[in-house]
Amino acid sequence: MPAFTDLLFYAFAGLALLFGFLCVANPFSRSPVTSAMFLVLTIVALAGLFILLHAFFLAAVQVLVYAGAVMVLFLFVIMLLDLKEEERRKMRKFTIAAGGLAVAAIAGILIRAVVAARPVATGALVEGEAKALGKLLFTQYLLPFEVMSLLLLVGMVGVILLSKKELK
């Protein structure tokens, strides 16, 4: 009988892959809102995987920022644009087949690389709690941290500028 955490890994991984697939290629609905909802579910399943990897702070940040802010922004814009369902223009089967083949090839290469490299755990496993991450962020990674705040400022100014009606 495998341990409960092993079952949880397979459950969360399976859910993440299922919801990812439904976000990308939903056979029942081509509306962007459906894709956004399934992406939110994928992000939450990934947060579950983060917790299994003992990255507690990152799991919380993922749910708060990614699922709670970024995806809400996506949904705002989808509602704002008020798109009708993506019409079935002539779906060139050849393009989708070629894309699927290319992606399958890349997936094959990645999985073979992972299996052949046979990575193993080295050293004691660390716990990703807020205190340890905070110590790293404010000592060793202080410059990238400050640059991030500058990046967010630049992003804000850019968004405000881009949403003006006319540039005088």
Binding site: Q62, V77, I78, A121, V126, L137
Partner: protein, 101 residues
């Protein structure tokens, strides 16, 4: 079988390839952008898995920065899409052909 680094990396690779397929095959700008975010999330999973199994917190700090950059990028990208929609009244990739050869 207890999930080791292999399992997490394979999940990350599959999610990345799902996102890549979405970027190639979907025709709505917003759905393409969402599949791009899926690819970023897959990379985050790989980074956290490596950080856990190599006794190193640097991977998690990188994920912290990746999430921040993704948030800023989504804001600017969506502002661009909204501005484009205002001009062209479409969010369909096949209607935006002015740079096509």
């Amino acid at each position: 079988m207890s999930p080791g680094l292999n399992h997490y990396l394979i999940v990350s690779a599959l999610l990345f390839c799902l996102g890549l397929f979405g970027v190639l095959a979907r025709r709505n700008l917003l759905v393409i952008y969402m599949c791009l975010e899926l690819m970023l999330n897959a990379a985050n999973l790989a980074l956290v898995a490596f950080s856990r199994f190599n006794a190193n917190l640097n991977g998690q700090v990188i994920v912290f920065f990746v999430i921040t950059v993704a948030a800023a990028e989504v804001a600017v990208g969506l502002a661009l899409i909204v501005a484009l929609y205002r001009k062209r009244r479409t969010a369909h990739v096949e209607d935006l052909t002015s740079l096509r050869f």
